[in-house]
């Protein structure tokens, strides 16, 4: 709920609102003929969705972007959904080792 308070700020700044009614209290209008109370319109948020998390401290990331990429790729490999064994292979479970050992001689990098 916006709290409408008396306002009449200097024409340079216009009618910009503030969150603190005591802001601009030192501001003097350009022409002293019409004194005013100098309290700007204040607006307060009705929800707290935009508040930062409590005790938040923002610091610069120590690792540079290249090293971050290396770590990120390593994490992605870990998180990647692993290939589940298909039914087709599960059926030949019994003679799998036997087959593999005979054909492994020709493998290369």
């Amino acid at each position: 709920m916006a709290e409408e308070l008396q306002f009449q700020m200097g024409s340079i700044l216009g009618d910009l609102p503030s969150f603190d009614p005591h802001n601009f209290s030192q501001h003097r209008p350009s022409d002293p003929s019409n004194p005013s109370r100098m309290v700007p319109t204040t607006y307060h948020p009705t929800h707290n969705r935009t508040l930062p998390p409590p005790h938040q401290v923002i610091t610069t990331e120590v690792k540079n972007i290249l090293i971050r990429s290396f770590y990120q790729r390593a994490e992605d490999k870990q998180m990647r959904p692993k290939r589940p064994a298909s039914e087709h292979l599960a059926g030949e479970h019994g003679n799998k080792h036997f087959r593999a050992s005979s054909s492994s001689s020709a493998q290369g990098l």
């Binding site: 690792k63 540079n64 972007i65 290249l66 090293i67 990429s69 290396f70 770590y71 790729r73 390593a74 490999k77 870990q78 692993k82 290939r83 589940p84 064994a85 292979l89 479970h93 799998k96 593999a100 050992s101 492994s104 493998q107 990098l109």
Partner: protein, 550 residues
């Protein structure tokens, strides 16, 4: 309209140096671009005048330091260091002639001899291709070595096949006055000294790779000038590994605990534990290095875990491991460290390869591997083969982060394909031209890990300012084949005119036409001053030319 034009032309609306100076008074540069704007003045101040065949002492001129304060050179006998201060010539002449007076066009008008220091004793020679500069305290690191012995007697812990040098001395010298501050000696070892390949300086940390003993020695350069040993990575990964191993008495107990301590505890490694335990139990004497070195254990366990995590089914896992890991197990075990660089204060990029390619330069066709190693956690973070496209993508995007130098801010402005559109275009052109992408990737990744301080920060090599033939001249400080035609530097701004030419020297007579001429260029980092040295391979006296702005 005028605003539109000025935006089109970049930061300055005119190419004229006077109007640029006036514009600089009233307009500040875009944020973060003050160095770029200052560099644009180098389009106007070019080293277009050449003094050919300047008479100078017959030294091997090596390099300007990156702050431009010193010119490093060595005597021909490679035993003395000679340091000059680059200055600018001053002269007065009574005549109005346009040519320089003879007394001004001399070597010592530009370079003041500061001192000569003897670094190498009788049988040692200074490695003239090795020099590292520590800019904050103006220290220089030099290396002297005795002769290389190729078929040396094998010693414990040494890799067979790597030559040995009786004594390598690294000398830390204060360049202001030539005082030797500290030395570090390596005996019966081998460090690749040519062009700083085996040593990397980051901030105040120095990594020296001992190829023969497969150790990465980390030293710290203190402000007082002392070289302090920080760590030696290789057989042991943490500083207290050796203490821990020595405190265990029984041989079998040592086997068990070292495997427990050096590898991370995870159930997937039981299989490998069994494998290695089986292997080492066949040689029960722990003293003759039946263990793999600490860093090799880290590497093998990382490869194991990576392959293990690719599959979720245990049977598939074992099959995949057999095919990809155990079949090549001995090849992985036989890998040696070829080269090392820092990525930041805690991470190293290590290049592994087979024993054959460690020393020779023509190792491009041999398989090689890259690993990112975290020194604090002693973990391997990533492992790639030299044909990995993933690694190439990172190389293409973040090449600046590979060529780390946290020292001076303007060293970050050396052109690379990550910070210059023109260099990136050239790279993409090469990529499209190549027949096989994996061959192209291998060729590009040969330059990793980068050698330290091997590029000149001179703005004349900035690709956004000038276009030049990279085969004839570039920021890398290698010498190259000399061409008869002058090397042209063409401006990148429209109109693309020729700004200046570097001609390496008057051509020799036709009698010498057959002998190969090589040429090296030393550009001052911020003055419009350059030296070109042309020499034939078999005749020592070289021709030295000075290029400067008159």
């Amino acid at each position: 309209m005028a605003k539109k034009l000025s935006r089109l032309r970049g930061m300055f609306s005119s190419g004229n140096v006077t109007s640029r100076v006036f514009e600089r008074q009233i307009r500040s540069s875009p944020p973060g671009a003050s160095v770029n704007r200052a560099r644009k003045f180098y389009e106007n101040l070019v080293p277009s005048h050449t003094l050919y065949d300047v008479e100078c002492p017959d030294h091997c001129f090596r390099k300007f330091t990156e702050d431009g304060l010193f010119l490093i050179s060595f005597t021909r006998n490679h035993q003395e260091l000679v340091v000059y201060r680059p200055s600018w010539l001053t002269y007065s002449s009574s005549t109005d002639s346009s040519s320089l007076p003879r007394r001004a066009s001399r070597f010592d008008s530009f370079f003041t001899h500061l001192y000569s220091v003897n670094l190498a004793s009788a049988n040692e020679l200074i490695c003239k291709d090795f020099f590292l500069y520590f800019p904050s305290q103006r220290f220089g690191l030099f290396a002297t070595s005795t002769a290389q012995i190729h078929d040396s007697a094998p010693s414990p812990g040494a890799v067979p096949g790597v030559p040995s040098i009786d004594k390598i001395t690294f000398v830390l010298l204060r360049l202001d006055d030539g005082v030797v501050l500290d030395e570090r000696v390596f005996l019966h070892d081998f460090v690749n000294l040519a062009y700083n390949m085996g040593v990397f300086l980051y901030d105040d940390l120095l990594a020296i790779l001992s190829l023969r003993f497969q150790k990465i020695h980390l030293l710290q350069i203190r402000d007082s000038g002392h070289l302090v040993d920080a760590r030696a990575i290789g057989y042991f990964c943490r500083e207290d590994d050796e203490l821990f191993l020595n405190s265990s008495s029984q041989a079998m107990m040592t086997t068990r605990t070292s495997q427990d301590k050096n590898k991370q505890q995870s159930r997937e490694e039981d299989a490998e534990n069994n494998g290695l335990q089986h292997r080492s139990s066949q040689q029960p004497n722990a003293s003759d290095n039946s263990f793999l070195s600490g860093i090799k254990q880290r590497l093998l366990s990382f490869i194991f875990r990576e392959i293990w995590n690719e599959e979720s089914d245990n049977t598939m896992r074992v099959q995949s491991l057999k095919k990809k890991f155990y079949f090549h197990f001995q090849d992985y075990v036989d890998l040696i460290i070829w080269k090392v660089q820092f990525l930041d204060r805690h991470h190293l990029l290590i290049k592994f390869g087979s024993v054959d390619g460690g020393v020779g330069r023509n190792a491009d066709h041999l398989p090689a591997f890259f690993a990112v190693y975290n020194m604090e956690t002693t973990d391997i973070v990533a492992f790639y083969q030299n044909s990995a496209e993933d690694l190439y993508q990172l190389f293409e995007q973040f090449s600046d982060h590979f060529t780390v130098s946290s020292s001076s801010p303007f060293m970050n402005f050396v052109t690379s394909h990550s910070n210059s559109v023109h260099a990136l275009e050239q790279l993409k052109y090469l990529k499209n031209k190549s027949n096989s992408f994996s061959q192209f990737v291998k060729k590009m990744l040969v330059s990793l890990p980068f050698s330290c301080q091997s590029q000149s920060p001179s703005p004349y090599f900035d690709q956004s300012l000038f276009r030049f033939d990279e085969k004839l001249i570039s920021a890398a400080d290698r010498h190259r084949q000399s061409s008869d035609n002058p090397i042209k530097f063409i401006s990148r701004r429209k109109p693309e005119t020729l700004k200046f030419k570097i001609k390496p020297g008057p051509e020799c007579g036709s009698a010498d036409g057959r002998s190969k001429k090589i040429c090296s260029f030393l550009f001052h980092p911020h003055l419009p001053l350059a030296i070109s040295i042309q020499q034939t391979l078999f005749m020592p006296p070289s021709v030295v030319n000075i290029h400067f702005r008159r």
